[in-house]
């Protein structure tokens, strides 16, 4: 099973309800977005004047580049397939791709807020909430979860439910009879480019050539460079804090380490 989301831009009217519904559902602070709508055009395309919308969200990619860069301590977790009851045990850090439903999830409790995963994502689908920093992290990551807790209760993802145009279709891409699979047959594609081919499962359908052109122009054109030094320094910072607190050197050392991370940002 691989969950995926189809955005039918023929139907989409660009009302932004999906963004606000998600915010309300998961109590996301105002300045952050688990999903977004970008308004494209009006511009002249090879097919004349066009204007459309790019409703975006985490693509729960086939090759999630965010997963391997996480520096949090690894743990063993056993996953269970809701349908078959099958289990599998994997070593994961604070973010992983679910072996059974293909979604990419995060564990805020174990996240150390280094920001490497957010940096790694070419779609800019993650954010770090620094106001949640504590003794063991610089903040906490967040992203779209394909509303797995809602789906588990038999509900639609919040963005799908609120869409007045029914332009968002959610389902199992591995099921050839699902509505999402029908859209794939009709030609729905992910927003990829020459340099960015990580297998997004958010797919876009447009019958108008001009609309599709605008969407493909909105696709990320390059893979971001992740500063591994940053994630390493965060690991050191958080570990060092615990030791240094006892010997009262926190103020001094913390200042030095924070400075290093900031220098890193400037590079």
């Amino acid at each position: 099973m691989q969950y995926g989301m189809i955005i039918d831009v023929d139907k989409c009217v660009g009302c932004h309800a999906c963004v606000i519904a998600c915010k309300a559902e998961w109590e996301v602070p105002t300045q952050f977005d688990r999903n977004w709508v970008h308004r494209l055009g009006p511009s002249l395309t090879s097919d004349g004047m066009a204007a459309t919308y790019y409703p975006g969200l985490c693509n729960h990619c086939e090759i999630p580049v965010c997963v391997p860069v996480c520096p949090a301590d690894p743990v063993n977790v056993t996953f269970k397939d809701a349908k078959t009851g099958k289990t599998v045990t994997m070593e994961i850090r604070a973010t992983w791709k679910d072996p059974f439903n293909g979604t990419v999830q995060v564990d805020r409790e174990r996240c150390i807020g280094c920001g490497a995963c957010a940096e790694a994502c070419p779609y800019d689908a993650r954010f770090i909430d620094e106001s949640l920093k504590d003794d063991t992290s610089l903040g906490k990551v967040d992203k779209c979860t394909y509303c797995m807790p809602r789906v588990a209760e038999g509900l639609e993802p919040a963005c799908v439910q609120t869409c007045l145009a029914r332009a968002r279709i959610f389902g199992d891409l591995d099921d050839p009879n699902s509505e999402v699979s029908q859209y794939v047959k009709k030609g729905a594609v992910g927003l990829t480019s020459k340099a960015v081919q990580i297998g997004p499962h958010g797919l876009y359908y447009a019958s108008k050539k001009g609309d599709m052109e605008l969407l493909m122009q909105a696709a990320p054109q390059e893979m971001p460079k992740v500063s591994l030094r940053r994630s390493m320094l965060t690991r050191l910072t958080v570990a060092a804090q615990t030791h240094m607190k006892e010997i009262g050197l926190l103020g001094l050392a913390g200042g030095l380490l924070v400075q290093s991370v900031q220098d890193d940002d400037k590079e």
Binding site: D10, K11, V13, G14, C15, H16, A17, V19, I20, A21, K23, A24, E25, W26, E27, T30, Q31, V37, G41, P42, S43, L44, M49, A50, A51, T52, R108, E109, L132, K140, C147, P149, R150, E153, L155, A158, Q161, T162, C163, L164, A165
Partner: protein, 738 residues
């Protein structure tokens, strides 16, 4: 704080004479609770109750809602699954109702202005004092100048009960509703003069073969089930024609985009009609059966050849022909959209009349895809304040002998002129409820003048809008989530489906906070103090709703038990046109000195160096009403000015530049916005979203954000037939700031 002591030392040494205060605010109650906050929200579906009966009023379409409530706190709003109107869907503004509910800038307590009108200094007062003051002041004016000495500006369900009290029982005719005189009133009266019906936006787009928009921009304008209606039509293969100087959200889904010169739409429509008549492509049978004065109109519009209209409208003649042929090939299943906000140039009655005539010419009334009035539930009891006829010579349009085809109420311009001049009589009391007159009436200076000469100004609202800065007393209303003041009824939005009707009375989803009171309570309290206590039609909002519902053997409680909406079988809305007459030629209009057939009235063109300022909708906002909502502000932080790319190049403007606007009267916008460069707009027009540029610093999220288009609409145009304003006749120069 300057002290040498620590708390610890202080407590040890203290011997203070602090006032001994009993702990009256906190009582001991045994409760259990969880303290440690999870990092992940549980979601709206966990540990919440579903409160039913919500009826939205972020805009005025009024989708039906449920609320997810946890311990008295609203977490999320969703469409009511029982709704046959919006279903489980709600738009961005509907979803953002939660942020409105808990907006810290919202009005909370009655306030008295101890400063000046326009530069207020507020002091919180009790409801007692507030109501006593209002009643005394209003009564003084009535006793001295008559009821006509009071005027009222209102909008929405907040305003209806208070408006009816003032208009019907206190009996002042000086009621000016923005939804009529600055929005859709001119459309309604033009269609009434042509088809004897007010159309609202009742075109059956879902089942149409052709959909025709002049200016309508569904997608930027979101009325939820109307958008569903439109999308279903497109899905079923309807051809969409959009007449708009700008490549709007609707133009983006259109099959034919007519990039028309602003102000010439009437010529376009007359040319279509003339072409259809000359080429015998119109619905002759329908016209034969229902038409009146057809020959006179046909003769009167002969001059409007395709070529003449092409010249006037700056579009190819072949395109006008293409549109006309498409309509003819598909009639009568052609949805000629009547529009909604139709107060454009001050010649709008004629344009709306032309659209109504075209609808009749195609026979597109009462049939699938045409102009079809839905059949909602009947039988709700009419409950209202008792009517006292208006004093003789108090109706200003009668005194002026103008605007004989006016919507209900008094044309705004006549009202302002009378108040400012004191002639024919003084208007010294103003009551403003749920309407932001500073942002909706053209020429803000004139509005300020009108308010400043009042003896008393009362505002009732939920937000501290720019208008509330002029109040003497400002009262905090409940929002739609906290009260019960409206009953929404209707039919399912796809008229082609099995007919169903619904009754959805608004019920509160949460208790009002602070000291907010619903406007029905406020009105009743005022009425009692002003000596009208015995005329009160309902003692409270629940009684008002229950009395109305009693007519169909329902009640708030019954409908709440049904999940908040009562659904019942309906009747087909089609084919109900036996009594229909299409007045192509209107004798009454001729008698009053107006053109009897739809007539093109040209408008002023922009002077050299200027472009026309046109405004419209964004799906993120309901003009200034939602401008302070942090969730919506985050999505649309400013209202960028759409500038044609060639014009931008000539002016040296680039995407994202910061600019101000100066108009033909030398008025400059106090704030700035950014430039959006696009080929999707004509060179003689610029466009931005209406409702930005708030002045009142009390709206902390909205203040100074973007440009207030109304601040630049200083040249006033008034439609002669209806007395409605036209607000796209001002011209601007773009001034680069950075």
């Amino acid at each position: 704080m300057a002290t040498n002591l620590t708390r610890r030392n202080f407590l040890k040494a203290a011997s203070i004479a602090a006032a001994s205060v009993p702990l009256s605010q906190v009582t001991a109650k045994a409760q259990s609770g969880v303290v440690k906050a999870p990092l992940v929200s549980p979601g709206s579906f966990k540990n919440t109750q579903t409160a039913v009966g919500g009826v939205c009023e972020m805009c005025f379409w009024r989708c039906q809602l449920v609320g997810k409530v946890r311990d008295g706190r609203l977490i999320k709003l969703e469409g009511n699954p029982k709704s046959i109107d919006n279903g489980e869907a709600i738009c961005a503004r509907g979803n953002a109702g939660v942020a409105m509910l808990y907006d810290p800038d919202r009005l909370k307590y009655p306030l008295k202005n101890i400063g000046e009108r326009g530069a207020p200094k507020w002091q919180r007062i009790s409801w007692e004092e507030a109501l006593d003051t209002c009643a005394t002041k209003l009564k003084t004016i009535i006793d001295r100048d008559g009821a006509k000495g009071l005027c009222f500006f209102g909008h929405g369900s907040h305003a209806k009960y208070l408006m009816d009290f003032l208009e019907r029982t206190v009996s002042t005719p000086n009621i000016s509703e923005a939804s009529f005189f600055q929005c859709r009133g001119v459309r309604d009266t033009a269609y009434l003069a042509t088809l004897d019906i007010a159309p609202d936006e009742n075109v059956d787009m879902a089942n149409a073969k052709v959909i025709f928009f002049t200016g309508t921009h569904i997608g930027e304008n979101i009325h939820l089930s109307h958008a569903k209606n439109y999308l279903r039509g497109l899905e079923q293969g309807a051809k969409l024609i959009v007449v708009d100087p700008r490549y709007s959200a609707s133009a983006a889904k259109s099959h034919i985009w007519v990039q028309i010169r602003p102000g010439t739409d009437t010529a376009f429509v007359l040319a279509i009609m003339n072409y259809l008549i000359q080429n015998k492509k119109y619905n002759a049978d329908f016209v034969e059966e229902h038409g009146e004065g057809f020959a006179e109109m046909a003769k009167g519009i002969r001059e409007w050849t395709l070529e003449k209209a092409a010249e006037e409208c700056d579009v190819p003649a072949s395109q006008i022909k293409e549109v006309a042929d498409l309509m003819a090939a598909n009639m009568p299943h052609v949805a000629i959209h009547p529009g909604r906000h139709t107060t454009w140039y001050g010649n709008d009655f004629q344009r709306c009349r032309a659209l109504a005539c075209l609808t009749g010419l195609l026979g597109a009334i009462g049939c699938k895809g045409g102009l079809v009035l839905p059949k909602g539930p009947k039988g709700l009891t009419r409950i209202n304040w008792p009517y006292v006829p208006h004093e003789e010579d108090s109706v200003l349009r009668d005194v002026a002998d103008e605007h004989h085809f006016s919507p209900p109420g008094t044309p705004t311009e006549l009202l302002r002129d009378a108040a400012i001049s004191g002639k024919p009589y003084p208007i010294k009391g103003a009551v403003i409820c749920g309407q932001n007159i500073m942002q909706c009436m053209p020429n803000q200076e004139k509005t300020i003048k009108m308010l400043k000469q009042m003896e008393f100004v009362l505002c009732v609202d939920i937000m501290p809008t720019d208008s509330t800065m002029y109040a003497d007393i400002l009262l905090p209303d409940c929002s739609y989530l906290e009260k019960s003041d409206f009953i929404k009824t209707g039919q399912q939005w796809d008229l082609g489906k099995d007919p169903q009707q619904y009754i959805a009375p608004r019920m509160p989803l949460v208790a009002p906070g602070f000291e907010r009171k619903d406007s029905i309570w406020i009105t009743n309290e005022l009425a009692k103090r002003m000596g009208y206590g015995d005329k009160i039609p309902a003692q409270n909002q629940e009684e008002l709703a229950d009395k109305a519902l009693a007519g169909v053997n329902l009640s708030l409680a019954k409908i709440k038990a049904e999940g908040g909406i009562h659904v019942q079988p309906g009747v087909s809305p089609y084919d109900d046109i036996d009594d229909l007459t299409v007045h192509f030629y209107n004798e009454d209009m001729e008698d009053e000195g107006y053109p009897p057939i739809p007539t093109y009235v040209p408008i002023e063109q922009p002077p050299q160096g200027f472009v026309r300022l046109v405004y419209g909708r964004t799906p993120l906002h309901t003009f200034n009403r939602t401008a302070n909502n942090p969730w919506l502000v985050n999505e649309a932080k400013t209202n960028p000015l759409w500038v044609n790319d060639k014009l931008a190049a000539r002016l040296g403007l680039k995407e994202g530049d910061t600019i101000k606007l100066t108009n033909q009267d030398g008025v400059t916008s106090p704030t700035t916005t950014t430039v959006k460069v696009t080929p999707g707009i004509r060179e003689d027009v610029v466009y931005l979203y209406h409702g930005y540029g708030t002045k009142n610093p009390e709206m902390t999220q909205a203040v100074n954000r973007g440009i207030d288009d109304n601040s630049l609409i200083t040249k006033i145009a008034v439609d002669p037939e209806s007395g409605a304003h036209g607000m796209r006749n001002n011209f601007v120069k773009i001034v680069k700031v950075s």
